[in-house]
């Protein structure tokens, strides 16, 4: 088992790369941060604490993540927009079966073409990370939003 300091330095670049992928609009690459069988959810602090199963987004496989991006690119209609993730403190701990549990706080600024720029979301990821032959991947990623209210719509992943 790795020492926690070493764990921290192994995991931190994963988050930097993850945020960079979204913020630089390389959305097709986003599902590659996950294992094929995975759980990705965007939910609210209120729902999470009450153990309510429905949040804002819930995906049970990498296929569903790919479909999210496919829908965003080809089907959904929304104003051009992008995100800037503001990454907070990272907490990591080794868990059973060689997996890593990690939490990281985040803020998301949403920028529209008009120049409107707002603090769109804040929250914390509760993640389970595994070592694969291709590097670290998320087996589970739950984005728990601090607020239960979303402005307009949420189409770009967090």
């Amino acid at each position: 088992m790795l020492e926690s300091n070493e764990l921290f330095h192994r995991v931190r670049p994963l988050y930097d790369a993850y945020a960079d992928c979204i913020d630089e609009e390389r959305y097709e690459e986003w599902p590659e941060f996950f294992e094929d069988v995975c759980f990705y959810q965007i939910t609210t602090r209120e729902a999470h604490r009450k153990s309510m199963p429905i949040g804002i987004v819930q995906c049970n496989s990498k296929g569903m993540l790919i479909d999210r991006i496919g829908s965003m690119k080809r089907a959904n209609i929304f104003e051009p927009q992008r995100y800037r993730h503001l990454l907070g403190a990272l907490h990591v701990e080794a868990a059973e079966n060689g997996t890593i549990r990690a939490r990281m706080g985040f803020g998301v600024v949403r920028i529209l073409e008009s120049g409107d720029s707002m603090l769109f979301l804040s929250g914390i990821w509760h993640d389970e990370i595994v070592e694969t032959t291709e590097g670290l991947r998320f087996r589970e990623k739950i984005a728990v939003l601090d607020s239960s209210r979303v402005d307009t719509l949420l189409v770009v992943p967090v």
Binding site: G55, I56, V57, S61, N76, S148, R149, V150, T152
Partner: protein, 415 residues
Amino acid sequence: MSDVELQAQRIEWPKEGVSRVPFEIYTNDALYESEQDLLFKGPIWNFVGVDVEIPAVGDFKTNFVGDTPVVVVKSSADSYSAFVNRCAHRGSTLCYEKTGNRDAFTCVYHNWSYDLEGNLKTVAFHKGVRGKGGLPDDFRTCDHNLQKLRVQSLCGLLFVSFDEDAPELETFLGPKMCAHIQRIFSKKIRILGTFSQHMHNNWKLYMENVKDSYHASLLHLFFTTFKLNRLSMQGGLILDGDGGHHISYSKMATDAGGGTDYESGGLRAQNDEFALHDNRILKSWPEFDDGVTHAIQGIFPNLIVQQIQNSLALRLLIPRGVNGCELVWIMFGYESDTQEETDIRVALSNLVGPAGLVSMEDGVIGSFVQRAIVGNQGRETVLEMGGRTVESQESRVSEASVRGFWQAYRKYMRL
């Protein structure tokens, strides 16, 4: 008539009637104020919550009627009370939490305390201190109760009214709307999720969007993009309550082999690029004996009951000033659901809400209108799809229920 009403009445409705709506209806500040009095506090019933949200005596929930803050509380084993969320003394907010439980409602400002029905029971330092100060001898606590609302319920849905002259709830809803509510709420529900969505448009633009069955396959391209063949869908529009209430329903055809067309492969994704990688978000089971798979019910003025296959939800629209509104979603299933049924409802929830693959566009389309009608006073919207009248129709390629909304709106608003 108040100044506000007079200003609102200056909006002249086009001579064509409900097939035209003046753009000013979405932008006029005086009209917004007038809506609070004539509509939301008028002779109607406003949805505020579900009985399962406040199961025990003393449980309360805060909400809004129009933009007026209210509290609804389970005040005894078999009754509910509701009042404006405002102390009768200095007007301070009484409950500043979303939900909670109280023996009594005591204002934090000066400790005036009310029972669960909103009656003033005690006033701090009522008799002053050591014989000095205090209230006048003729002060009567019963003259200073909270501003109470009427409460009536149907199948656990709690509605309130400010108006003594409002008809009984079931009369207001009408038999067709009551029957549909009874259809969905025949079993005890379990809340599976709640969240809200702020939209940058006048509240009425969202309600029109809900009632507009014409736009569905045009604005929302998920199904067509992924070549998801929904086969033939029979359906129609049912209107009631002076046109203000509606149900838009359809029956997704099922294959003879049983189960839904999704499960049996009737739903076809035709090539790789436009195929879904995981079809679980489309899985459903036939839940209602009448075969109706999709039903959107709009209860005038601002409640929606949603059945999209097995995705069930209540949506309450709260006006937030003339240029904004907040849509509160209550996603639910039933207490009797199996884990598999809950899983299907959870997966289907990906289609709706602020990130809904099928319907996220509804969160922004109202603001596309709101920002374009600035400076266009004197112009109007056109509503002639399916004719110019208000009536139940077999085709959903129609704006009849949007016209119905305006017919009811004009009645309450005296426009």
